[in-house]
Amino acid sequence: MIPKLCYFLKLLVFIILNNLILKLKLNIDGLLVYFPYDYIYPEQYSYMLELKRTLDAKGHGVLEMPSGTGKTISLLSLIVAYQKAYPLEVTKLVYCSRTVPEIEKVVEELRKLMDYYTKQTEAKNDFLALALSSRKNLCIHPEVSALRFGKEVDGKCHSLTASYIRAQHHSNPSQPVCQFYEEFDAVGRQVPIPPGIYNLDDLKDFGRRKGWCPYFLARYAILHANIVVYSYHYLLDPKIADLVSKELAKKSVVVFDEAHNIDNVCIDSMSVNITRRTLDRCQTNVETLQNTISRIKETDAAKLREEYSRLVEGLKEANVARETDMYLSNPVLPDEILQEAVPGSIRTAEHFVGFMKRFLEYLKARLRIHHVVQESAPQFLKDIYEKVCIDRKPLRFCAERLRSLLRTLEIADIADFSAITLISHFATLVSTYSKGFTIIIEPFEDRTPTIANPVLHFSCMDPSIAIKPVFGRFQSVIITSGTLSPLDIYPRILDFRPVTVASFTMTLARTCLCPLIVGRGNDQVAMTSKFETREDFAVIRNYGNLLLEMSAIVPDGIVAFFTSYIYMENIVASWYEQGILENIQRNKLIFIETQDAAETSMALEKYQEACENGRGAILLSVARGKVSEGIDFVHHYGRAVIMFGVPYVYTQSRILKARLEYLRDQFQIRENDFLTFDAMRHAAQCVGRAIRGKTDYGLMIFADKRYARADKRGKLPRWIQEHLTDGSLNLTIDETVQLGKHFLRQMAQPFRQEDQLGLSLLTLEQLQSEDMLQKIAQIAQQA
């Protein structure tokens, strides 16, 4: 019995050892990198090489690698290895992703990597990595966390944790406070959170166990964490960044994943839209402020005096901190105002409220117009000076002054004051930046010229304003995504100088993507969504026939993208009249994305069910919509993607026109170039939804003859362009069907991991061979 047991144990040890050996330890340019998988894709190796070079040079990088090739794990394993090897050079990794599920995915990959590290080195893990999200996702207070909207949770939380509320609690114990925050504040700040990997749920568990508030714990812990994973907004949105990310160390590496839309995020975070409703709510805000002030004056005049003297001192503290490099600078709080005291005209509370009132009245007057007005910031300032004698300087301090006032007045529910905060931000921005912004006042929407709905768009045209502090502060910023082509445009519009710009292709054992450009119907009528011909009966019929034919040969799911909701509605209505819809429904069920989020997610759910059950389904959706950005159609959920037309942005919009003009004047980017770039990146995003890895496969059909032109084709990512041969450029529907059928049959043949080995999947030995290294060198293309 005993020898048998011994043998068994030996076997067990052998198996465990074997498992350990199987995982990879790589030598990347002299750096030992632990890689928690048995095999590695050649492009991952190449990606890590480029990344290492970027970190060595302490510069910024733009890297494009197709989705499904393990970008995340490559990034994490290299940067973690770098942190371990040179702990003084890189102290922190800040990983920015877009959505909560994506954040969770990153943390899981990280956990795998760290498990592998501990197994290998047998040392205790001393890394602290955590995810951060909004209060809504982290709150464990029984009443607060039950609220449904993020704003409500924030407001309620604030009313329980604000400093003066807690001060009141001291004198009056019946005043409710959040016990989790109290506990954290009393104990949590002294005791560091033990090293480990924390996703949102882990944080909550930890918080519950200790009785600490996970949200504040996380916010506090990111200062000394080795890895932080959170959303873009914590770095890019000046309002949030100031609260959360201000004190992040300078020697951090910042990664923006899925960053193909980063310029739009930047612009959105700096733009302000003011409607009449905002102004009305602002009016009530001002009245509340006034009442509170007069009340406080009777009871506690000393407090207001104290504030006054503080304002005379100016914002010196913040200034000192920024100069000594403690803080990330905030574009809403420009450097100049830090050196000055708040101007006398708005120093007392009453004067400030009076000032806000005047400003508000002015804005109201501006909204009472009947024609569109577009003007620059200096023009606006001049006008406001002439009309209501408001100077530039006090405007600039508006945001800071309001914050101070709200603090002094001890107003608990900040959420209510969002309107006036918005206005004050607008005031500060408009008086600070004379370039890069434009003001457009529209009395009505273009579609409904009879209904008065005046909007003041204060729109940012220069994405580099919001991201500038990030590039300036952190030593390495990596921008990466599956679709960043053409690579040279991002450094230009974000105004930075990268040290590495590279695009990686997908090495494939079999060609699992099949891009086809369909330019004509069987009747030889050109297919295009060009404005002049989009109402053409023949074009719509041909689009319908294309979808019908594809529905007969593609199994399971097809996703079709249109250029806009209106265009989709028109086409679908016309297909219905022509009886095409009825024919399609014999092959597959049809689901439609709408502007309603709930309806869309319902449609999506049913779509997936139909694909799962073998009935087959078609999802009609819109480029730039919810589906095109965030939803993946793996395997059978998307065997084909059809892009009907080129998804140009609506060019008649005044905001866009202003932005194009700005780009032309400032960055020498021609309007047409930018529009095409923008359209093609969205088209690439759409068709890229279907291929999410090397075992996946799918047809990519571009149904517009304009795609065949070199200027469009050349802007597709390299990994799609590679497979676009001359033979698949200007096809008719029939040819497409033949090619598609052939492709789908080829792809349905059994495909095992062994077939990939050595070609697109490498073991350590294969990786070290001479000619493989040569091949890898070709994968990265320097732009």
Partner: protein, 399 residues
């Protein structure tokens, strides 16, 4: 929309890019790599069988479900999918009984959201062949229903096996030939897959157009295989894969089965005692002329049958002839795989032992027992059809 029979004219059909098949492969990995994978799979088919003694389910009960929906009118197989499929099925049925003499088969068609049983489970190829010939003229309409047809097949399998008191280890199989890319089901098919799993019924699918998710799941859960055809010859190859008995599920227990080996009694007209009599198998089929003189008599109950193999209607004994059993013998002891060597490394006379042709392929195959050399085609032929090495046979005889 393309339902009108007029569309069947050749010049109205789609382009066929026949030149694509012959495409020289200078850039793409697609054609070459897929074909290479296919070739490997072909070889692997018997390579895998060679390893160890796999238990095989020799007594098979197989239902073939043939999709007869609208998509079967597609002309990518000649003259259309339906005709081509039925022709191959005829061939398949013959091969099946040739190689699995003690097994049974049944045919189901599905169209217009319904399933229809063409023939019941039976061991006589004639009836199936007749039914298949008749089915060529039927029209293809509507969508198929995977659920309904599987349901019919399950009922058929379970009923037969219970009424005939079959031992538990008989293999129950369903083969679906699926042309459509959609299925119209009255209920959740995943529940049915669970039932199939519980009943240990193996479902395999041959797709005629592309990979459908539900079939992938269906075959994976029930332990079957799923293949999609490339062209007609590939179709035939895939179909022939199902001629071989599948490995028996390991859980089924070993048991002995009683079998009868009736002698063929030939009675001549001159014999006075001989009287013409009916065969027992004519009880349910009235089509053929009834009275015959000789026949096989069940050793247990003396019931008369004209054809073997058969299940005795009276006592339930399986009646087979010795050659039948012998023929299924080779499945249990397959010919060992030949050793593959590249042509450059091979030294010796460059002609194939079997076909006497010159060796031109990139590799040659050597029998491990007799050291004779064969070409690829002969290697496949020997392993697929002959099941014994001609080289070894020769040496056996001479020694």
């Amino acid at each position: 929309m393309d339902e009108e029979p007029e569309r069947a004219k050749r010049w109205e059909g789609g382009y066929e890019r026949t030149w694509e098949v012959l495409k020289e492969d200078e850039s793409g990995s697609l054609k070459a790599s897929v074909e290479d994978i296919l070739f490997q799979a072909k070889r692997k088919r018997y390579m895998s069988e060679g390893h160890g003694q796999v238990r095989l389910g020799m007594m098979r009960h197989l239902f073939v479900i043939i999709d007869s929906s609208r998509s079967m009118e597609d002309q990518d197989l000649r003259p259309n999918r339906l005709t081509s499929t039925l022709k191959l099925m005829e061939f398949f049925v013959e091969e099946y009984f040739d190689q699995n003499p003690i097994s049974q088969i049944g045919i189901i068609t599905t169209k217009n959201k319904r399933a229809e049983k063409l023939t019941d489970l039976a061991g006589n190829p004639k009836k199936h062949l007749a039914a298949l010939k008749k089915a060529v003229d039927s029209t293809c309409v509507g969508e198929p229903s995977l659920y309904n047809s599987l349901n019919v097949a399950i009922t058929g399998l379970v009923l037969t096996i219970y009424t005939l008191h079959m031992p538990a280890h008989t293999s129950k199989e369903i083969l679906v030939i699926f042309s459509s890319l959609t299925t119209c089901d009255p209920a959740n098919i995943y529940e049915l897959i669970k039932t199939l799993n519980a009943l240990k019924i193996r479902v395999s699918v041959i797709g005629l157009s592309a990979e459908v998710r539900v079939c992938t799941i269906l075959t994976r859960e029930t332990g079957g295989s799923y293949n999609v055809i490339l062209d007609e010859s590939h179709f035939k190859e895939l179909l022939m894969l199902h001629v071989k008995p599948p490995p028996a599920s390991s859980s089924s227990e070993c048991s002995l089965i009683r079998m009868g080996f009736p002698q063929h009694v030939i009675a001549s007209m001159s014999d006075q005692d001989a009287k013409p009599s009916f065969s027992m198998s004519h009880l349910d089929s009235t089509g053929e002329p009834g009275l015959t003189l000789g026949g096989y008599y069940c050793p247990q109950c003396r019931a008369k049958y004209t054809e073997l193999p058969v299940e005795c209607k009276v006592c339930g004994l399986t009646l087979v002839s010795a050659p039948h059993l012998a023929r299924s013998f080779h499945h249990l002891f397959p010919l060992e795989a030949f050793q593959e060597t590249p042509l450059e490394e091979y030294e010796g006379e460059r002609f194939c032992e079997a076909c006497q042709g010159e060796l031109k392929d990139k590799s040659v195959f050597t029998c491990l027992a007799c050291k004779k050399v064969f070409c690829v085609e002969c290697d496949l032929f020997i392993h697929d059809t002959l099941h014994c090495c001609p080289g070894c046979m020769q040496t056996d005889r001479t020694s």
